[in-house]
Symmetry: C2
Subunit: 331 residues, 2 copies
Amino acid sequence: MSSPTLADVASLADVSENTVSRVIRDKGYIAPATRKRVNEAIRKLGYVPNRAAGSLASSSSAIIGVILPSMSNIVFPEVLRGIHAGLAGTHYQPMIGVTDYDLKKEESLISSLLAWKPAAIITTGCEHTAAARRMLKNSTVRVGELMDIDHRPIDLAVGLSHLEAGRSAARHLIGRGYAKIGYVGHDWNADKRAHARYLGLVEGLRQAGLVLSEENRTNGPSSTLAGKAALAELLSRAKTIDAVVFSNDDMAVGGYMHCMAAEIAVPETLALFGFNGLEIGQTLPKPLSTILSNRFAIGKTAVELLLANSERNKKPQIVDTGFSILEGSTA
Amino acid sequence: MSSPTLADVASLADVSENTVSRVIRDKGYIAPATRKRVNEAIRKLGYVPNRAAGSLASSSSAIIGVILPSMSNIVFPEVLRGIHAGLAGTHYQPMIGVTDYDLKKEESLISSLLAWKPAAIITTGCEHTAAARRMLKNSTVRVGELMDIDHRPIDLAVGLSHLEAGRSAARHLIGRGYAKIGYVGHDWNADKRAHARYLGLVEGLRQAGLVLSEENRTNGPSSTLAGKAALAELLSRAKTIDAVVFSNDDMAVGGYMHCMAAEIAVPETLALFGFNGLEIGQTLPKPLSTILSNRFAIGKTAVELLLANSERNKKPQIVDTGFSILEGSTA
DNA sequence: CTGTTAGCGCGTTCAT
DNA sequence: ATGAACGCGCTAACAG
């Protein structure tokens, strides 16, 4: 009734359990004939190794713990896609948790994931509770902190400098001759990286002797709907601005929709600039001017580096996956 | 160096391992005083239970295996979001695999997930290899097959009838007076449900004495870009059609973009109809007419039903999460 | 190249 | 209300 075990395979193939185990894990030399016998027994019995037992015996597992702040923001599914791509062809399985941007939840997820003795834990950003940081530091699993490289990681950070991305946005707009620049954003508590980009933007403007003309931030998460409404509200107050930087593409696409509905010429009357380089922005009648963040590459690179070495680096490693300006036609 | 075990906690709290285990799992009566001592010891040591050991001993685990065909299609991250929502507050952890629409890959994922003795396995659709079906049938874990209810499930199916959704699209357009209807779609091999909707559409038209005027299918997966190009191509051949049904919203949004660029009045000159009810479609200057599929509800409902009972139903259970027409302004 | 011997850390069963 | 003994299925270390 219950599933066959190593012992069943061993007795059918007339070898020791150990030999079966070796065949399965492809470890050490096995006589071709025995290997064949064992494989046949495995097939005949429909044997599937019990990972829990293996994990207990070896105190390690082929699990990759993945902790994401959200699944609603398209960016994270894309990171997850990169992680999957990096995992393809290996026998590692991702085990996923979602924090909803709650550091306490992250802490408890880290603890449950650690309970499975994963090969690595991948999480987001640099902010963790003290307890979470301690658990990660004390454990020996590899740790990847994604998206953001403006900090010193526990083991490995992969991402881009959001501060620098903000500065680049400023430089781009200034280079195009825009001077009265506004900002439309979403909630920074839930998204520190959006805040970092904002700070970079302000700094970039300051270096050119400019300041942000006007800004409007919504309370909730980013969305096209929120961006549409928030731009409308901003423009009702500030009619003289000539460009708007959005916290990300979702918001910017919403802004574009507002301009279309309100018949505002983009970019002649108002220029729009986003962040992320989502496909939808590039499908607009005028492709959105934005910054391409390499979400997919971030996930994939992180996995590859993490799996390349089972031991942590002596010195924390930082990998910059960079970003690039998509010129577009809206700014 | 290595993490503390039950035994460490037990000796610190001066009780037997067994008592500690009971406290942790909240099973049986424990004297308040001992419970307190144990909890303090746990905290002091930073004890985290080893799940692999627990799982081995109990031959069960709090893992939910989730198998998705793709992470690129926004629909599946949304299902995953629903799954997470259903799992919130429980101690279950999703373990995820992605098949890339490859049934062989699904088979091997099922086998690796089964190796962890999960509480349930959630997968997509009704199509599986014979071996995969056998593994699922023979195991005792609960099995949820999502998205599609036009088939007899192994244990539980949650989703909607795509055939019926297609018929509804036909009825809606006919009711609005459209008669020369075209179809723009993506690759059906990768998406049997899109095919089912197509069949429903054709059937719905036939019942009204109509036929599809013209159709165009791309080879790759759905995307706004593909939809844009495919509609352009279709219109170059068939200038007299008055409405187009798309395989889904991604394609339809692309079609909308083409109409904007080509200055085709929607819906006056050409009506557009999608499927899924994605947010982006509703943000267009004219909200997309489409059918809302409840991806989130599908994931959440499935998890809730699966966890409600650790034993399989004697009879396969089918749950229809339904769909609804979003009237929109494009058809 | 293969077998033997010992656990891994926990849950279960039976006592008390 | 608590403890003792056993074994889950596998891998590791050492023989040979």
